[in-house]
Symmetry: C2
Subunit: 425 residues, 2 copies
């Protein structure tokens, strides 16, 4: 089987790439394959489903800010219900962190990123359940620092990732794209640029290119192969010696539904939605998301140093991670969680680029790899998809949704030029 373009992975990055590739190449056959049974069923489905534009590097800001605009275009102009809710992204910070972030915050404000800051008194009033003064036990014994300030990103919020993946797939199919599920790519096919037709090729002295993939349903040859398989990409890339700079790490989400959490969930004054913003407490590596439809609160744990790297097909939440770990510190900040147990939990994996925590869109002969970094793939997916399509077309510049531009090569590996993200909690 031959296709002009083969996209491996029907998560948000693969589908965004496919959509823009097909848009720029209406006459070329573009096929997306995925090992799962539908769009966005890998780690897209296991993510917290947030969008945010809180970055100090120009590239991260452009990628995320333009993708958020695209989400609202999808919902408001194209009619897809993505359950977009601009409820804000709130960082609850201790004094040292807040002081350290003052310069990055002013850098972000200069870019035009809308931010609100809250002092301890504001936070006490708006989140009555939050304890902002600690005793000796918390500070001396446990080493916890109380919250001193809050920073709210206004153009941030939540998106229904399932609806997002389906809308991207629908737009792609509308243009004549083709999607096949339950097909696993098992190996990238490497061919010499100039085939001799003798046994043993490719030889080390030949220039080589990716010519498609072997899959669980046979060989698919392609002019361009886009590897957008998220954390699973290493299974395809390691054997051909292509290092995409990404390593997989588990993250776990717990779901709570309890009358005692209602006041927390319905925190007023942060946005017109009058619900708790997406709230991150870096002191304990925890973030929370209020889900008004379900009446629940999601609590995610994105611990980093100490949490091992390693690809898992079916990652599971550790039973005690909440009850005998997060819980001890969480109830010091939010006593409303006392004796409240999760009603549901799951684990996913995120691909981390330790070097600069900025996405990678990198070409190799016959191939383009696209991957996000540190779990912020959803909020950058449209811009990354447009970058893939521009690279494939041999264009140096990428026009993002809304007309802003970036240089495609900046997201590459040898040509990388992205700066360093200094907004790090």
């Amino acid at each position: 089987m031959y296709r002009d373009i083969l996209v491996i992975g029907a998560g948000v990055l693969g589908l965004s790439s496919a959509l823009h590739l097909k848009r720029l190449n209406p006459d070329r056959k573009v096929l997306v394959i995925d090992k799962f049974g539908g769009p966005g069923q890998g780690n897209t489905a296991k993510s917290a489903g947030i969008f945010l534009n809180l970055f100090t590097t120009e590239i991260n800001y452009l990628l995320s800010d333009s993708t958020i605009d695209w989400f609202f275009h999808l919902q408001n102009e194209l009619g897809y219900n993505l359950s977009l809710r601009r409820c804000g992204y709130l960082y609850l910070l201790n004094e040292a962190r807040y002081r350290r972030l003052k310069a990055p915050i002013s850098k972000m404000r200069k870019k035009g990123i809308e931010l609100r800051t809250f002092g301890k008194e504001d936070l006490k009033r708006m989140i009555p359940d939050l304890v902002t003064d600690f005793g000796e036990e918390e500070t001396e014994l446990m080493g916890l620092e109380p919250v001193e300030a809050g920073i709210l990103g206004v153009k941030c919020g939540s998106v229904d990732t399932d609806a997002l993946a389906r809308s991207l797939e629908a737009e792609f199919l509308k243009l004549g794209g083709e999607v096949s599920y339950r097909i696993t790519a098992t190996r990238l096919i490497i061919r010499p640029e100039r085939e001799l037709g003798v046994p043993g090729e490719p030889f080390v002295w030949q220039d080589i290119r990716v010519a498609g993939a072997e899959t669980s349903k046979g060989e698919i040859l392609a002019g361009t192969t886009v590897v957008a398989a998220g954390v699973w990409s290493e299974r395809l890339l390691d054997p051909i010696g292509f290092d995409a700079l990404m390593r997989p790490k588990k993250r776990v989400i717990f779901v709570f539904k309890h009358s005692r959490l209602r006041r927390l969930r319905d925190a007023r004054g942060f946005s017109e939605h009058n619900i708790l913003p997406f709230t991150h407490i870096p002191e304990i590596s925890v973030y929370m998301k209020a889900d008004p439809a379900e009446g629940s609160i999601w609590l995610g744990c994105a611990d980093d140093f100490g949490r091992g790297y390693g690809l898992e097909d079916d990652p599971q939440p550790e039973g005690e991670l909440y009850s005998n770990n997060i819980y001890h510190a969480l109830v010091r900040f939010l006593p409303c969680f006392e004796n409240v147990r999760p009603v549901n939990m799951w684990a996913g994996q995120r691909a981390i680029n330790r070097y600069d925590r900025i996405p990678v869109v990198a070409p190799a002969p016959g191939m383009i790899y696209v991957g996000s970094a540190t779990g912020y793939g959803i909020t950058k997916c449209d811009a990354l998809g447009r970058t893939v399509a521009a690279l494939d077309a041999g264009e140096k510049g990428v026009e993002l949704f809304g007309g802003r531009r970036l240089k495609a090569a900046d997201l590459g590996i040898e040509t990388r030029n992205v700066g360093k993200e200094v907004f790090k909690v």
Copy 2:
């Protein structure tokens, strides 16, 4: 068991680190452990044993140039016979590569790196076995470009890696250092900075540090743990979620001993030694080293894209890699290899940092990781060891052998500031 400093790995990086750590801390107990039975028995023993200073980045130049000076100090002043031979490092380049490298070459010359260039006619005279004109079969069918020019790094050559590792060990032992062989570190021990003494620690909300290692001979606690285990480092670092930016790749070396290769081996005019310089032909991913003591030529293959990543404990050379692969192209450049078969071969692994191909010396609480990149660990080992010792001492600057200085943080990960190496063949 407790030691002030535990160094994992007795290769050239581990032993250099241990030596300088002990030198700066004569009263602290420094222990080096290694899974092999002696110094430098891992991939140090499998390397080609070269030193070179051909780099355009200031950091790579400082690391390598000062380490070469240290090697000559070890041999000439301290009396270790390292079989140092400044025979030069010769790149044989096609026209396009030579053109592309003109700017990097002039950059290196400005730094003071001594380089000689040779035209086709020079090369023909000095290496009579080299074919410099190709026919249609080579260029059209095989896609090979003939050699147009040569670049020779003068302050480059070969070193006996076994003698080097033993001399570093001897200097370390002389200062009162301690080395234990046949001990495998199986796991880094992680402890909270502030222990509560309750089950389940460390918790995600605790600050953690590396407190030593579990080994095949019991637990070794340490104030500082230096991870210098080469490609094996990932077995220790992945479980604690520390990405050292390095991935392992195999490289293979073949040894030839044949009367027909004598003229090639004894190429005159490149150095006072009147032997073939260390010679790299990037067009076919091959390098050669003449060994006058053995009368042999070593031929290494360092293919990259297409050669898979993956840690192997006992990597083996592929049987056909020479006979049905390299050979086809090699004999077009050097017909003296016709029907000559290797008398020996082995494989090792090198740790590749795809991002910038520059070494990493990166601290984490209680730990320092040191790793080189792209197989150039030997030629930078002394400077990297001094960087480890400076970091451990909390010093920002590193004084290299000979008095030049670099900033330790520049080789870190979050603080990385190394530039990009533009001398890439």
